[in-house]
């Protein structure tokens, strides 16, 4: 184990064995080999310490010290059902996949789209080529990743899923990924895993929400450790929207790796409003030329919240364009981290890459650490990056007040305007309004203290 890692605590290493015992017939299925491998690799690697450059500003001791139970499937409270139904209404509930504590709930889900299939890997024939393809992708990822949380997720994932979009199928209505978490008397670790294969010239839009129930013994915490792998085929498009509103004691580590084929488009936006600690690990690999990548982020925090966005964009091929913009408003004693790396390899001539992080601090006790990184090995490229961290502009404040707006109205307008450029990137109007609405409600709670 390197000096940048710490040993996996025993209450974590025991989890795999406990899951294995509860799997019944599932433990001789092909996927279980990956759980085992994930667990073994994780034990070897360990968890990252703050000596690790990518975790320098995000201490996860609070996450590691907690003792979690592995959630069982099939239980959901009446309150949970109501919450899920109300989230479904956002898109009329036509296409929604529901997860309770990270486990897929078929009876609350519906997906009736021609050319789109949701497949539980456990349901696939053991010798099917689809299963082989998916397992290969996951195997490759857990073998080569330096991200231990993907390994942790794989080792503890009860029901891995594949969302398959057939060639040429274009779906405009967003497919909802509803993550709901509830627990009464113990802390939980959720490990949902979803592989999305968007075949050539297909298009889908996703709306992922994370919400946790507030009625529980308040010493209990939810740790959701998500892994998503998205394969954007030739000339295909995936639009991924995420809104995170977890309880203020909960943890989210969201791991998303996307890879793009020729002429494809990948759009991602994350709006992080809740949780005690959130860490988004977003990686995009450009496998071929003429791709278009957009990565957007909004974060608004107060109290003791900590929101960390890590992004890695690998420009490996020529004529690719990318745009990355993360903006946040921090109040209270909250902390934000942005660590974005854009790598432009020698082959990636004519790359056009833009990266920006801007943060507005509302309180003297809030803190932002921003590290926009650009690593370029090609000579004919157009790349820019930058970061700003600042307080509210007193000239702007005075101008607004001189028109009769009071301190609160003016402050709200400034905060919303600051984030507007990011949520305006959302094409779908109802999703854009939803994000704007959630962000505005959150901003009203962000003050100096």
């Amino acid at each position: 184990m390197s000096k940048y890692h710490i040993e996996i605590p025993s209450h974590f290493s025991e989890l795999f064995g406990r899951l294995e015992n509860s799997l019944n017939g599932q433990s001789d299925k092909p996927y279980h080999r990956l759980r085992k491998k994930g667990s073994e690799l994780l034990m070897k690697q360990g968890f990252p310490s703050t000596r690790n450059e990518d975790y320098k500003y995000t201490a996860l001791n609070r996450v590691f010290n907690e003792k979690y139970e592995i959630p069982e499937s099939g239980k959901i409270s009446a309150q949970g059902k109501t919450a899920i139904e109300s989230i479904k209404k956002i898109t009329q509930g036509e296409s929604s996949l529901c997860f309770v504590n990270g486990i897929y709930q078929a009876e609350f889900s519906s997906l009736n789209l021609e050319g789109v299939q949701l497949i539980q890997l456990s349901q696939l024939e053991e010798n099917s080529s689809k299963l082989r393809d998916v397992l290969e992708k996951i195997d490759e990822t857990i073998s080569h990743t330096d991200n231990p949380f993907i390994r942790l997720n794989t080792s503890l994932c009860r029901d891995p899923l594949l969302l398959f979009v057939e060639r040429g199928v274009k779906i405009d209505t967003p497919i909802q990924l509803i993550h709901y978490y509830e627990t009464e008397n113990s802390s939980l670790i959720a490990s949902p895993q979803l592989i999305i294969m968007a075949e050539e010239s297909s298009e889908i839009s996703l709306l992922e929400t994370h919400l946790s129930s507030s009625s529980r013994n308040n010493t209990c915490k939810v740790f959701s450790n998500v892994f998503q792998r998205m394969l954007v085929g030739k000339n295909a498009r995936i639009k991924h929207h995420k809104i995170q509103e977890l309880n203020k004691e909960d943890f989210l580590i969201h791991n998303l790796i996307a890879s793009q084929e020729k002429d494809s488009h990948f759009y991602a936006i994350t709006a992080d409003l809740g949780s005690r600690i959130t860490r988004n690990n977003l990686e995009v690999h450009l496998k071929d030329s003429n791709t278009w990548t957009e990565m957007f982020g909004l974060f608004a925090s107060n109290g003791q919240q900590h929101i960390d966005n890590q992004t890695f964009l690998d420009h490996a091929k020529p004529h690719c364009e990318s745009r990355e913009w993360y903006k946040g408003v921090l109040g209270g004693r909250s902390r934000g981290v942005f660590n974005g790396k854009v790598l432009v390899r020698q082959d990636a001539q004519k790359t056009n890459a833009f990266q920006q992080n801007n943060t507005l601090l509302i309180s003297d006790n809030a803190r932002m650490d921003s590290k926009p990184q650009l690593e370029i090995y090609a000579d004919d490229v157009k790349c820019s990056h930058g970061a700003t961290i600042g307080y509210m502009d007193s000239e702007v404040m005075f101008y607004l007040k001189s028109r009769g707006l009071d301190e609160q109205q003016a402050g709200e307008l400034i905060k919303i305007a600051f984030l507007a450029e990011v949520f305006e990137s959302v094409e779908n109007e109802s999703i854009r309004n939803l994000i704007a609405e959630k962000v505005i409600v959150k901003l009203r709670t962000i003050y100096e203290s």
Binding site: F398, K401, S402, G404
Partner: protein
């Protein structure tokens, strides 16, 4: 409606206004002229209530109350309007939303009913047409990327919808070509009324051909050194400021 008595104002320990006296009655248009750095803009900012301006002595009475006790937003709701020399650009705030917000917040403060979307649109369209502005500016972000002329028109538009009792216009003519100057002046003139006062701050006499003042005051080195009627402005245009300076006792010739 406005009585300024022996007003002294410092910014970061430097005294800018050194004893200003001025009274404006309803219906009057006063012009303040003076060379650069004489304290003209400071007077505007102090009336609007900007933070960094410290009043060290003297008083400002507005509509029978102590103006200095009010915050900038309270002053605006009491009917004071400052047209900025350099209006602030605010990307992300749509001009139309901003106008709607300030109109209704002022109406609410005055005990008037808030306007609904339809009434609002009618009002805005009417005022925009009067200022020869393009309706498309409503969709843009507040002053963001506006030309100098567009910004000034936008200030006058805000004044027109807020209907202040006392309007202070700081160098509204700077950056305007002659056509824009006429439009903006017409906008101001159409608002002249027996119950509204104006304080027009300008460096050049040109503006006063269009907005004809009742009184002209010359501010030099933080003091009003000469007052007169509109002919004083013409005299200044011809002879410059130098000939007045000796009258101000503290100003070196």
């Amino acid at each position: 409606m406005l009585k300024i008595k022996d007003l002294r104002v410092s910014v970061e320990d430097t005294e800018i206004l050194k004893g200003v006296n001025l009274e404006i009655k309803p219906g009057e248009v006063h012009a303040i002229m003076g060379p650069n750095g004489s304290g003209k803009s400071t007077l505007g900012f102090v009336l609007a209530g900007k933070d960094d301006y410290e009043v060290t002595s003297g008083s400002i009475e507005y509509m029978g109350q102590d103006l200095l006790e009010l915050d900038p937003d309270e002053r605006a709701r009491e009917g004071i309007f400052l047209g900025f020399q350099y209006p602030v650009e605010i990307p992300g705030v749509s001009n139309s939303n901003f106008l709607k917000m300030i109109i209704n917040s002022i109406r609410k403060a005055r005990g008037q009913e808030e306007l609904d979307a339809l009434q609002m649109l009618k009002l805005l369209k009417e005022k925009i047409a009067a200022l020869s502005m393009d309706v498309s500016m409503l969709k843009r972000s507040l002053n963001d990327g506006f030309s100098g002329g567009e910004k000034k028109r936008n200030e006058i538009l805000q004044m027109a919808v807020l209907e202040p009792k006392l309007a202070v216009l700081d160098e509204t003519d700077s950056g305007l070509d002659i056509d824009a100057l006429k439009v903006v002046s017409d906008g101001v003139n159409s608002m002249r009324s027996s119950d509204r006062g104006f304080l027009v701050i300008t460096h050049y006499q040109r503006l006063l051909n269009y907005i004809v003042p009742d009184y002209v005051h010359v501010l030099i080195d933080g003091k009003i050194v000469k007052s007169g009627d509109k002919s004083l402005a013409l005299e200044l245009e011809e002879r410059g400021y130098d000939w007045i300076k000796p009258e101000g006792s503290t100003v070196p010739a």
